[in-house]
Symmetry: C2
Subunit: 291 residues, 2 copies
């Protein structure tokens, strides 16, 4: 059994990006530039954005943080997005979600030029991914595909069960895993809360990607010997013994499932660290003008 | 066993649309208007477009056929598309595929305003469908969903196996069948040429949607008693006993599979007649300004 070390892979990728940026600079090319719009002062969002800015430093990117108070109007945001769309120096940008309730998130997402949409949330990018055209893939699925690639995990023709059908993980994960490409080319099954045969599907799976958001949902008797298990869950389960008051818990009961696996991602330290790294990969791609 | 009569359902829907159009006209509203661009004189394309124009008449739509010789430039087509995008009288339009080789089909598809893209091929519509936003679904998947609905076929929680992962049938079919909606809400598995466990997946399926393009691929021993079988295949198999010289053959060995099914679509007369009907439904939707 091998533990997939997302933390160290993420560090490695950021170093590779930094080397690529240094090479570009030495050739007189432009430094990649990521901008982030942050509205309000939500603790989680502040942390995420701060970590993204830090990752930009490691990668050698220019970063711009644009802050608004939570009473900003949708119109003001749309205007700023329009400016960023037109600003040739900005290669990609994100609007940190969630937004205050008076702002329609879908309007904001769709206002972003898909060629700068490094979060990969714009319907054009979702559609282009499905069709197999150059696109930006959102952070979590992008990170998982990178882990499968870096660990040389065989996927072609394998039975891959995706648990969960969310727009940001389950559905894009299924799309990527069924594409005629490596990693991918798998026989993909998507299970969800209404699936009658979920346990049986899991038992027959060569690869399980758990993204239900239900702590410890996948147990040992649901996993076949030698399976690959990717755990996307990150639920905060109360834990009085910890200083934070909670324990970050995956969708997989790690202790009992891990011994049966050929590969497994831990929580934390598996898929999680790859998400910001994916954003960095997308920003480098945006700066390479693939469209 | 019940045979799903696509031909009669398609006729019924066209009559329903005609009634709706008549009601709109009597309220002083605009008559829906579909335009079609046809390039060259390919026999198949000529027939398809002629049938679409005929269907428009049945539905009470205005139709405009725009013809170009096969030496038309991409630029000329793009300019005409731009005009159609801006023409308020045209609710939806299609460019009949395939196009001559010197024209990039993807450029043409992406030039169409997605709000008029009644073929549902634009990446924005593909992405919007995946996310669950209002959109145009392409003809074949749209028609199959309508058949499932009209025959009250239970899909929620059922195991649905889609054979084939094409952009125009397999992938959108999978997306629709897994959405949290009825019909849909199924546990969906997509199998393809590289799937190692295809036969086993089919044997466990409550619903099989066969879109491989391999005549008579699905045999009786691959189908469970009581399954629902939807056959998307339409391969022309040489047949000297017929005037046409060929027999339109589905992906399912109908004679041996049908007795085991609860519902099955025949070829011809099943999914086929629904495709033009889907285009009519989309045109009515375009004229209703859902976006």
């Amino acid at each position: 059994m091998q533990i997939i070390d997302g933390k160290s892979i993420a560090e490695q990728i950021k170093q590779e990006i930094a080397a690529e940026v240094a090479a570009r600079i030495s050739r007189g090319e432009k430094r990649p530039h990521l901008a982030a719009i942050l509205v309000g002062h939500d603790g989680g969002s502040e942390t995420y954005v701060a970590n993204k800015v830090k990752a930009c430093e490691v990668c050698g990117f220019t970063s711009t943080l644009i802050r608004y108070e939570s009473d900003v109007t949708e119109q003001e945001l749309l205007q700023r997005i329009d400016e960023l769309n037109r600003n040739d120096d900005v290669d990609g940008f994100i609007v940190q979600l969630p937004l205050p309730k008076h702002i329609n998130e879908q309007h904001i997402i769709e206002a972003i030029d898909f060629r700068k949409d490094v979060d990969g949330f714009h319907p054009i990018n979702v559609g282009r991914m499905s069709i197999g055209l150059p696109c930006f893939v959102s952070a979590t699925p992008n990170g998982i595909m990178e882990l499968l690639k870096r660990y040389n995990i065989e996927t072609s023709g394998k039975k891959c069960v995706v648990l969960g059908r969310s727009n940001i993980v389950g559905k894009p994960m299924a799309t990527l895993m069924m594409q005629k490409q490596i990693p991918g080319d798998a026989t993909v099954t998507v299970c969800h809360s209404h699936s009658k045969n979920l346990v049986e599907e899991c038992r027959n799976a060569d690869i399980i990607i758990a993204a239900m958001g239900q702590p410890n949902f996948v147990k040992a008797d649901m996993v076949k010997e030698g399976a690959v298990v990717i755990d996307v869950g990150t639920t905060r389960v109360p834990d009085a013994t910890r200083k934070s008051g909670f324990k970050l818990t995956g969708d997989v009961k790690f202790d009992e499932v891990a011994p049966k696996c050929s590969f497994i991602t831990p929580v934390p330290g598996g898929v999680g660290p790859m998400t910001i790294c994916s954003l960095m990969m997308n920003t480098l791609k945006a700066a390479s003008h693939i469209f």
